[in-house]
Every structure is written in structure tokens, then in C-alpha cells.
Subunit: 335 residues, 2 copies
């Protein structure tokens, strides 16, 4: 393929261009052939590009868009009321073949609604799902859906499982173990949707379905792809983030409690910071929308430079693996 | 009230009498007027009572029951097929007024089914809920349901919220803040059940309903009572346990990685052990069944002595507060 081009919603997230533009500049330095399109209010973006060497400046394009989707806006408002939002224009660049992927740290619901409307789903997929890599004791697992779909039928869960398996494989895991998240591992456990999805997956050829997994099994690394509805996935991920923050806060408190403890803390904190980063997956890694006819990666609203770069890295990986095309090919056989 | 009597299923859990009897003996030493009834196979229980001073032996009664409900048994099998199980007989002692509470570390589904059948629910309550205290940045919150009810209507969630509020108050929290667990805090977020439950709670007098809470808000301590269906609650709690175990394992690994790190670890590990204990709530604390005409506390299947004692402590507290009676009084006004 030609040199990859990623469009980024420069106005999205809690920090906007102030954080996103520097993140893009550092990211370009890592990947020689990559081009980035910064979409948003040109004068705000340009402020952060001053003094940039021309070699890098040539790979950073500004695409003006006058409007901004706010973090608390209704998806319908973003869809109907803001034809020139940075989020929408970035997605239109993907739709029109002018970029290979879109990255945004903006309003999740709006990004999902605009993505579905502009890019459409792949044949056989009712709803796109959000997936991210969650750290486990043995590496990481791909968890989906993360909140795009709060009510899911068994068929939706089945589609998520198939998409998760194909994505995990594209991202380097051969024959990934796929599990359904449930309140127990015995056949009788769970709600109707989960039980029905299990029977669909047991019959699916080409998916390495290993059965039910519980919440602790996920972190023990018992599966490579873990499937649930968006309500459960969102709460699992956010409560994990909250717990990780609580652990970090408590440890810092302990390490500040006395002089000897401070000495311990000074030695332990670099470890702990890395750990906390690993345990805040949605901030750390990007979350990818699977099932669209195009690549869209969502960065956490509160992501700083490192988080934005992780999302860009994820998008680039999906571009190189041509993930939507791969999904399309596999889905034809599986759905 | 007369001296409290707690019946304990001595055969339940992964360790049975081997762990439960010593836990009871230590617990008795803490509470001078308490009496415990050990229910199960008498010869196995007696083995662990040898050499016990007679003052304590007099407060420890054995009630023989010949059968055992296994951990993977179907609730229906425990209900219909085992009339003389230690779990059932312990509950019958509560039903017949011979004990004030029942504690079991056995099969959760079977314990719930037997509790409902033998003790019945309070008027106005369709289904009992499982609740436990989860540590937060500011103290702890009461989370329910934890897995007893995988599918819940808005009315069920509403009943859980009312019961959780009354229980939190009985356990010492005045005017507890009650929140519904959701995928966002805005009104438009969530599934139909959660939205409907919210409108029921907004109209409820005498419940301090503060709105939706997200997974991270729970650990940040934004509410005293957090309500969700049993599918979500079970997965939240078990994934938290798994994450806590992962953190502990990673830190131990880090502290073993070099000689200076070992020195740090020696100083940090006592802190970390306490932290891990706090973060494994269902193992650490008992989970209480709310909404029954009697007190039932479930200890984690893998709970060791300390866990069993926490469950006994919880049961004793509920006996002293006469929780079912308090619930009954409040429910008459609220439901």
C-alpha cells in the first residue's frame, strides 16, 4: 500500500490540540513514512506547529473544520447539528479514501454514531463493537464490547466473538482462545443471551471457542478474546481503572507516611507508575471500533500524549494489517 | 435479645470443617456471650474440637447433618435431593427460631435457593439480593446484587436500592448516598431497566438517591450504596479480585527481581498484603443475603479462617441490629 495516512480529530478529548498536536509530532518522528492529517480549527492547530523542522512539517497536514463536538453532546446532535465538526470531517476523510484511519479522543457516543453513519458496517455485522487490549497475568486479552452497545442479543455477542477473534489474529495472536464473560463457568450459569451465544459459538467452525470465563479468569489470562455486552464491558473496564487508581493512591500515601517508607517509595515508584499505566488500559491503549468499513480508533477523553500515541500506534497497526478487509474476508465464511 | 446463636454450615466451602471449626473457635474467644452451632457430619467436626477448654466447648454445639451440598451441584438438586444437607439443616435452625443467623461458605446458588424456600422473602420483596462491602478511596460502599439475580427488572433494582440503603444505615452509615451503576452519568445513558429504576428512585421518599455512578466512581467513593443486576455485580467483583491478585503478583515479581528491589519488597510487603486483603472483598468480608425473613451470610468458597470470621462478624452485626425486622419496617413505607 501507499504511505499510510491517519486523520486525527485535533479538537477531541479533554485537552484538544494542546496535547494532540505535540503527540502527533513525536509520533511522526517514530514512523518515517507516515503522514498525519490534523483536523480542526486551523489557527489553534498552527500555534502548536511553530518552529517544526520542514521535513516533519511536510508530513503533517492541517484540514480545517470549524465545529467541535463537545464531550457531553448527544450523538444525535453531533450527527445532525454539526456538519463541519472536526470529528465528522476526520471520518469523511476515511470514507472518501483520503486517509486510511481516523483517531479521536472525543465523545464516544458521537464518534460511534458518526462512524456508523459515514463508514457503514461490514456485511453481516449489525453493530460495530469497541475493543481494547487489557493487561493480564500472562500478557493481554482483547475485551469487547466496551460500551457501544448496552443491550445485546445472542447474535450480537456471536458477531463480537468472531470479530474479536479475527482482530486478535491480525494483531499477532495465532488461534486466539475466545471466551464469553459470565457469572460462572458451568453450562447452567448466565442469562439467556449468553447461553444462546454459547450454543452459536460451539457450532462455529474456525473460532477457537473455549467456553465461559469469569471476571478473575480474565485477569488470570485464561483467554485471548473476552466477549460481553457493552454495559458489562464498560463497567468492568472503568471499575478496573478506578481500582488501579485507588491502589496507586494508597501506595503513594503509604510511601509518604514516614522517612523510611519514602526511601522505599523512591525505589518502588518507577515500577508502580509502569504498573498503573498497564492497568489503565483505555487511557493507555486506544479502543478500536470493529465491524466498520474503515478504521476508527478511540482514545480516552483524558488521554495525554502517551495515550494519543498508543491510539495512533493501534490505528497504524490496523492499517498495515488491513483489518477491515481481513474481517470482511473471514466474516463471509463465519456469519 | 437473648445471647446470639449463629448456625454455621461446617461442611461448606473449599476447606470444610478443617478450616471452619478452628475459625469458629477463635471467633468464640472474641465474643463472650455468643453461641455457635456447627452443622455437619459430627465425627468430622469433633476431630477438630479435641482439647478445647470446657468453657468454650459449652458455647459450641454440634448439630449432625449427614449430607453435603457440593460446590458444583445444581440448586434444584440441593433443594429436592438432599433433605439432610448441612446447609439446609443450618437454615432450618434459623427458620425454626433455634438460631438467629446462618453462615455458609458453600455453593452460592444452592444457598440462595434453600434460603428462599425455607425462610421466604420479606413482604414486597420479589427476590433477595447479595450485598457486600467493597473498599473505596474514602472507606467502603455496599454493592448489590452480586450474582443472585442475573436478569433484573427496574422494580428489582429499585427494591435492591431500598434494601441496600436500609442495610447501610443499620450498619452505621447515616443517610447513605444511593447510586445506580451505569455506563455514564448523563440521563440518556444506560439500558431500559436502569433508566426506569432511576425514575422510580427519583420519586422515592426516604432514599437519598444521588443518580448514576460509573465503575471508577465506585472506587472513588462517590456513593455508599451501589446498585446493579447480579450479572454486572458478579463480574465487577470478580474482575476486581482478579486485578488485585494480578497487582500483588506483579509487585512480588518486581520485588524479587534484584537485591535492592528485595530490600524494598521486604519493607513494602506488609503494606501490600493488607492492601490485597482489602481488595479481595468477597473473600475478606461476608456477602449478606438481603430481603429474607432471616439472616444468611455467605462466605467465599475459598475463604480461610480470616474470611470465615469476617462472615461470622457480619452475621453477628446483623443479628444485633435485627436487620430483617428493620428492613421489614422500612419496606412497608417505601415499597
Amino acid at each position: 500500500m501507499s504511505a499510510p495516512i491517519i486523520a486525527i480529530d485535533a479538537m477531541g478529548g479533554d485537552y484538544g490540540p494542546h496535547c494532540i498536536v505535540p503527540a502527533c509530532i513525536s509520533f511522526l518522528a517514530e514512523y518515517a513514512s507516515l503522514q498525519l492529517v490534523l483536523v480542526g480549527q486551523a489557527h489553534l492547530i498552527e500555534e502548536h506547529l511553530r518552529g517544526l523542522p520542514s521535513a516533519e512539517r511536510q508530513r503533517l497536514h492541517i484540514h480545517h473544520a470549524s465545529e467541535i463536538v463537545t464531550m457531553d453532546e448527544r450523538p444525535s446532535q453531533a450527527l445532525r447539528g454539526k456538519p463541519d465538526s472536526s470529528m465528522r470531517v476526520a471520518l469523511e476523510l476515511v470514507r472518501d479514501g483520503k486517509a486510511h484511519a481516523c483517531v479521536s479522543a472525543g465523545n464516544t457516543g458521537a464518534l460511534m454514531a458518526l462512524s456508523r453513519y459515514l463508514l457503514k458496517t461490514l456485511p453481516g455485522i449489525d453493530r460495530p463493537a469497541m475493543v481494547t487490549a487489557v493487561p493480564t497475568q500472562t500478557g493481554h486479552c482483547h475485551l469487547l464490547d466496551l460500551g457501544a452497545n448496552v443491550d445485546c442479543s445472542a447474535e450480537h455477542l456471536y458477531q463480537f466473538a468472531v470479530m474479536g477473534a479475527v482482530a486478535a489474529e491480525a494483531l499477532g495472536k495465532s488461534n486466539p482462545r475466545v471466551a464469553l464473560l459470565n457469572v460462572g463457568t458451568e453450562d447452567i450459569k448466565g442469562n439467556q443471551q449468553v447461553k444462546l451465544a454459547a450454543s452459536l459459538l460451539q457450532q462455529a467452525r474456525g473460532v477457537n471457542y473455549i467456553g465461559y470465563i469469569e471476571g478473575d479468569g480474565l485477569y488470570r489470562g485464561l483467554a485471548d478474546v473476552v466477549v460481553c455486552d457493552g454495559f458489562v464491558g464498560n463497567i468492568l473496564l472503568k471499575s478496573s481503572e478506578g481500582l488501579a487508581a485507588m491502589v496507586a493512591a494508597r501506595l503513594e500515601e503509604l510511601f509518604n507516611s514516614s522517612l523510611p517508607a519514602k526511601a522505599v517509595g523512591l525505589m518502588a515508584m518507577p515500577f508502580l507508575r509502569r504498573l498503573r499505566g498497564d492497568l489503565t488500559p483505555s487511557q493507555h491503549n486506544g479502543a478500536s471500533f470493529l465491524g466498520l468499513q474503515g478504521i476508527v480508533v478511540k482514545s480516552h477523553g483524558s488521554a495525554k500524549e502517551e495515550g494519543i500515541q498508543s491510539a495512533l500506534r493501534r490505528a497504524l497497526l490496523e492499517v498495515r494489517e488491513n483489518l477491515p478487509q481481513r474481517l470482511h474476508g473471514r466474516l463471509e465464511h463465519l456469519l
